[in-house]
């Protein structure tokens, strides 16, 4: 089995944090999101990360930070969003180009997964299988793709149907970006990917339509799709659990305070400020500020400002003048 991680998006909704950084390389507790994903993949499994031409070099640099893992960076020939291959299109390009005839552990590079993937691999017995996250509240499932399964007491359930963002969800199970595509269905996958390169979830509906049994492993462990500023901040806060993490190279003076979940990256100086539920990437100077629910990118200098619920672009200098 080989692992294929989709990381080809341009993450325009997370601008400006993703202005010069791929979404899967956004830090979560000081580690790129992609490193968190890779840590869940069994150590001996070869990993291919598919990315776009814009972030190719960054991805290669990231792969070098994990020398013990067998990671191949596959760069799609796409420099802009409108040239994207599509998620399934990227899988197809990889399978065809590399002549791959192997089972594929398919993961989304912009999802945080808290569950153990070895559990999924153990549960795989030749049928397509995916991980469904149980929201445990049916009303929350409205904005996700839901998975309707046959009721049984077993760990692995059989999928009956899928529903995309249903108004009245029938299930609290939502599909995650984790699945295994069996090599037996390679031609079906390639054919479907050719027709619908964007519809990664559609392949499972296609399996059902072709009477191929699709299985589902239900997990209640943490899973987050990091698609927006809100979800990125919320994921950080969930992981921080109301604690404050500060890199040893950073400093906080006695007149400053940190509340809720706060992550402070390296080389940051905080003085006379209140920081609440924030993520500071690092190399910033924060003086006389009140920051709440913010993500501050690298190299910012903020003085005398109160900011609420904002992503702050790398290199931003905001220094309140004495007469304003």
């Amino acid at each position: 089995m080989q692992c294929f991680i989709l990381a080809g998006g341009f993450a325009t909704r997370l601008w400006p944090l993703t202005e010069k950084r791929a979404k899967p390389l956004l830090p979560l507790q000081g580690q790129p999101l992609l490193s968190h994903v890779v840590s869940k993949v069994p150590e001996n499994m070869p990993i291919t990360v598919s990315t776009n031409a814009v972030f190719g070099d960054d991805m290669k640099a990231w792969a070098k930070t994990l020398p013990k893992r067998s990671i191949t960076i596959r760069i799609e020939d796409t420099g802009h969003e409108d040239q994207k291959l599509g998620a399934l299109g990227a899988v197809r390009a990889w399978m065809e180009m590399d002549g791959l005839h192997d089972d594929v552990l398919l993961l989304a590079g912009d999802n945080y997964i808290g569950f153990d993937l070895t559990q999924l691999i153990r549960a795989y017995h030749g049928n397509p299988i995916l991980v469904a996250h149980d929201l445990q509240d049916i009303s929350l499932a409205r904005s996700f793709g839901t998975v309707i399964v046959e009721k049984n007491d077993q760990e692995v359930k059989t999928v009956k149907a899928f529903e995309e963002k249903p108004e009245k969800p029938k299930s609290s199970l939502i599909s995650t970006g984790c699945s295994i595509l069996p090599k037996e269905h390679r031609s079906l996958i390639l054919d479907y990917a050719k027709r619908k390169p964007d519809n990664i979830g559609g392949i499972f509906e296609e399996f059902l339509a072709k009477n191929i049994s699709v299985e589902c492993l239900v997990s209640t462990d943490m899973w987050r799709d990091i698609g927006s500023f809100e979800s990125y901040l919320e994921t950080n806060m969930t992981l921080l659990k109301n604690t404050q993490m500060m890199d040893p190279s950073s400093s906080l003076d006695a007149a400053s305070s940190m509340k809720g979940g706060v992550f402070v990256g390296p080389k940051t100086r905080i003085g006379h400020s209140t920081i609440e539920n924030c993520v500071l990437f690092g190399s910033s100077i924060i003086n006389d500020c009140v920051l709440r629910d913010c993500v501050v990118d690298e190299g910012c200098t903020l003085t005398g400002v109160d900011i609420d619920g904002k992503m702050i672009r790398a290199g931003t200098t905001l220094i309140r003048s004495t007469n304003s």
Partner: protein, 264 residues
């Protein structure tokens, strides 16, 4: 560069027109002779002394700024004030230097002709400048943020009025199916901001939407040395009753309710 050359020509001709207005006033009043009672050389000396002051008065009224619409009533009033001030300086300078006054009618002639000549010249120059600055490549390429109807209105307005600011590109944070608005191409989402600024050599940015990105757009403008403009509609001010006022030295954007008796 184009603007600097234009500005130099503009100031030079303003100076020449001021001198011409005062010389013509002299001849209209005195007659087309060189009077010995009222020597021309003394008059011209004062004229040359006051001419730079006249330019400084115009500059202090911000008449030469790129955003100034020369045909606006405000601009005409400023030219009139400047003409009056120049007249006052001229009278005082003449009195201080030579200890005497001269024809009041000459002053009226000089004041009126300064205003008329300057106003007409500024109107003509404004049109000429707009054409020159809009020539490809435009001197002030404007990037528009937001692909909404406010952006469309702004583009129509700027193009109809032949504004010196030429809309060259639109970026929209949420994405849109529109390929162009009013002939201006929609080039994508905000992740293309840096590329578009470099490729299109943007000098000005007008924010027509995406209030949540104001702080970061300002950051981009500061880093690239762009001038940032925010449409009042982004803040929900759409009734045209916004004014900029000073609040103890602060300069907030102020919206004054139309029914209010005491306007602040």
């Amino acid at each position: 560069m184009r603007r600097s050359v234009l500005l130099f020509i503009w100031l030079l001709i303003d100076l020449a027109l001021f001198l011409a207005a005062y010389v013509s006033a002299y001849f209209f009043r005195v007659g087309f002779i060189i009077s010995t009672d009222f020597p021309l050389d003394l008059y011209v000396r004062v004229m040359f002394l006051v001419a730079p002051l006249w330019i400084l008065i115009l500059i202090s009224f911000r008449i030469f700024t790129i955003t100034r619409v020369q045909s606006s009533i405000r601009n005409m009033i400023h030219i009139a004030y400047s003409s009056l001030l120049a007249l006052a300086f001229f009278s005082l300078a003449y009195y201080f230097l030579y200890g005497q006054f001269f024809s009041r009618l000459l002053l009226v002639y000089a004041g009126v002709s300064t205003f008329v000549l300057t106003a007409l010249w500024h109107l003509a120059f404004d049109q000429w400048q707009r054409r020159i600055l809009r020539r490809s490549p435009p001197a002030y390429p404007l990037l528009i943020i937001g692909a909404n109807r406010d952006a469309e209105r702004l583009i129509t307005l700027l193009n109809t009025k032949q504004s010196v600011f030429t809309p060259v590109a639109i970026l929209e944070s949420r994405g849109t199916s529109q390929k162009d608005i009013g002939g201006v191409p929609v080039l994508g989402k905000l992740n293309k901001l840096e590329d578009v600024i470099k490729e299109k050599k943007i000098t000005h940015m007008a924010q027509c939407a995406d209030l949540e990105h104001t702080l970061n757009l300002l950051s981009v403008c500061r880093q690239h040395g762009l001038t940032y403009m925010l449409l009042p509609s982004v803040l929900g001010i759409v009734e045209g009753d916004e004014r900029t006022e000073m609040l103890e030295g602060l300069q907030p954007v102020t919206m004054v309710a139309k029914k209010s008796v005491f306007r602040f």
